[in-house]
């Protein structure tokens, strides 16, 4: 199994005006002129800020248009949006870009057509609200396998992730992610403090179906004792088997001489040798 850590792209903190542009790695510079028919992207949004942290019920905007209404902690919604570059902003429920002050915002988030990404509103390692953008791996999964992605978006220290008691992801810190391929199946998973057996979250039953990417978010606050897991599943990624090798060969004819043929030939050779000797003697 391979596991890779990569950083989530952390956006600006609460209340600050975003200056930096966030881009997905394969982002385009921007649409010169949006065609009437635009390619879509799939964007999921996770409300990973626990209750009592100042964002209990929020509305999420892209520019002046509302993306998600009445968004509550622990919710994850998936939308198709036209490709483009968006200024994302999170407002307290009922407030708008015209009359409200953003709780969180990130300007210039590039979303290419065909992309599959998740935006999280969560607490950073220090417990402050932050926005992160992750690209979801929707490449083909080998036959018989399942992809597991784990993202640490909690106000908590480094953790290990275990499946059926065995560590499969080590030393994951906020806001990193790790991706592993495991045989498809049902597992009991938990999250422990890094290098220990102290369970921080779980255990939880995880059904990792073949050909899917199961994305697990560890979110909440260790201090407030409300750490939890949120799960998102992307399916339809399964690859076909490599082939079918069906037969042990017991009924196959071979290129080796069978015993009976070899036996008759030996008989013939002996007979010929003997007869030729007799013929030679007769002529002598």
């Amino acid at each position: 199994m391979n596991d890779t850590h990569s950083r989530g792209r952390t956006a600006v903190r609460r209340g600050a005006v975003a200056a930096a542009a966030l881009a997905l790695p394969f982002g385009i510079a921007g649409l010169a002129a949006a065609p009437a028919y635009a390619a879509d992207a799939t964007v999921s949004v996770l409300h990973g800020i626990p209750e009592g942290a100042g964002a209990d019920v929020v509305d999420v905007y892209a520019g002046d248009a509302m993306l998600i209404d009445n968004f509550t902690p622990g919710s994850l919604e998936t939308l198709t949006v036209p490709e483009g570059t968006y200024d994302l902003a999170v407002f307290a429920d009922g407030e708008t870009p015209e009359d409200g002050t953003a709780v969180l915002e990130a300007a210039g988030v590039e979303v290419p057509g065909g992309a599959n990404a998740t935006v999280t509103a969560n607490l950073d390692a220090d417990g402050n609200p932050a926005l992160n953008v992750y690209v979801n791996d929707i490449s083909e999964v080998a036959a018989g396998e399942s992809r597991l992605t784990v993202r640490h978006v909690a106000a908590a220290p480094a953790v290990d992730v275990r499946a059926d008691g065995a560590v499969i992801i080590e030393n994951l810190v906020n806001p990193d992610e790790a991706i592993v391929a495991v045989p498809a199946g049902d597992y009991s998973a938990d999250v422990v403090l890094q290098g220990t057996d102290t369970v921080a979250i779980g255990p939880a039953d995880l059904s990792l179906a073949e050909g899917t990417n199961t994305i697990v978010y560890a979110w909440g606050s260790a201090e407030a004792e409300n750490l939890a897991l949120a799960v998102q599943v992307i399916d339809g990624l399964d690859g076909a088997p490599t082939g079918v090798a069906a037969g042990g060969g017991s009924t196959a004819a071979t290129d080796q001489l069978p015993v009976w043929t070899a036996g008759l030939m030996a008989l013939g050779a002996l007979g010929a040798a003997g007869a030729m000797a007799r013929v030679a003697r007769n002529r002598a």
């Binding site: 088997p241 079918v244 090798a245 069906a246 037969g247 017991s250 030939m265």
Partner: protein
């Protein structure tokens, strides 16, 4: 009349044995149906459904009660999965084949697991099943064993367009299929993405091996693939007796 010299007779007889035995054996090998080339008949159904539209108008999300706010983005509803119903038995009356079906996965090399008992066959459980009403339900079986004789699927290369295959499912129901294609394909170029597709026309695909058996390498060099469609589907022939449009090859069996 001179008596023929016995030595000459023995010599001629011996030479006949020496030369004739391997020739007889070669003839025996040539008449073995495993090495006789099997023609492809029929045609697998193609996925003729239109490509999903990737270019779309900007979707409008449903309006919610309250201030008149412009919306962007359309919610993606999670796809409702249809619970699979596993095949548990397969019967091919024309060949006298009746075999239990086990659910199988893959080996470490990614190839399909096949039941070791050659009298049993395997349904690829990570692919389609008859409850999905689409895609290819794949059942694989050994042609023969290493130290067992002929497997349940030994003779599927004799199936012809129009033959029927019956599959019993775990809920007790039966599905009937009609053969539309039989192909022999070199193992390295087996079109796995198509044969194991979970979308597209609903079909039953039987796969085994055939052809030259390479003891020093990977065994049988070819796959035999039989494709069948649900009886009464559009792809099924109107009259299995006369054979549809009559343009398929007839194979002397």
């Amino acid at each position: 009349m001179r008596r023929p010299r016995p030595a000459i007779v023995v010599l001629i007889g011996s030479l006949v044995l020496l030369v004739g035995a391997p020739i007889a054996w070669a003839g025996f090998v040539a008449s073995d149906s495993t090495t006789e080339s099997v023609e492809t008949v029929g045609e697998r159904p193609v996925d003729s459904s239109p490509e999903p539209e990737t270019d779309q108008l900007i979707a409008a999300a449903p309006q919610v009660a309250g201030p008149d706010v412009e919306r962007i983005g359309a919610p993606v509803e999670p796809r409702m999965a249809i619970d699979p119903i596993a095949p548990v038995g397969v019967r091919i009356d024309r060949l006298g084949v009746e075999a239990p079906v086990d659910a199988v996965g893959v080996y470490e090399d990614g190839s399909v697991e096949i039941p070791d008992d050659v009298s049993r066959v395997g349904w690829y459980r990570f692919g389609a099943d008859p409850a999905q009403r689409q895609g290819s339900t794949v059942i694989v079986g050994h042609r023969d064993g290493f130290d067992q004789g002929r497997g349940a699927f030994y003779s599927i290369s004799a199936l012809d367009v129009g033959d029927t295959i019956d599959v019993t499912l775990e809920d007790g129901s039966d599905r009937e299929y009609e053969v539309v294609a039989r192909e022999v394909i070199a193992k390295e170029i087996l079109p796995t993405s198509d044969l194991f597709a979970e979308e597209g026309p609903e079909r039953l695909t039987l796969i085994s091996c055939i052809g030259y058996f390479d003891r020093s390498a990977d065994g049988y060099r070819e796959n035999v693939v039989v494709t069948a469609v649900p009886v009464n589907s559009d792809e099924a022939l109107d009259d299995p007796e006369t054979g549809g449009d009559g343009s398929q090859d007839q194979v002397a069996s």
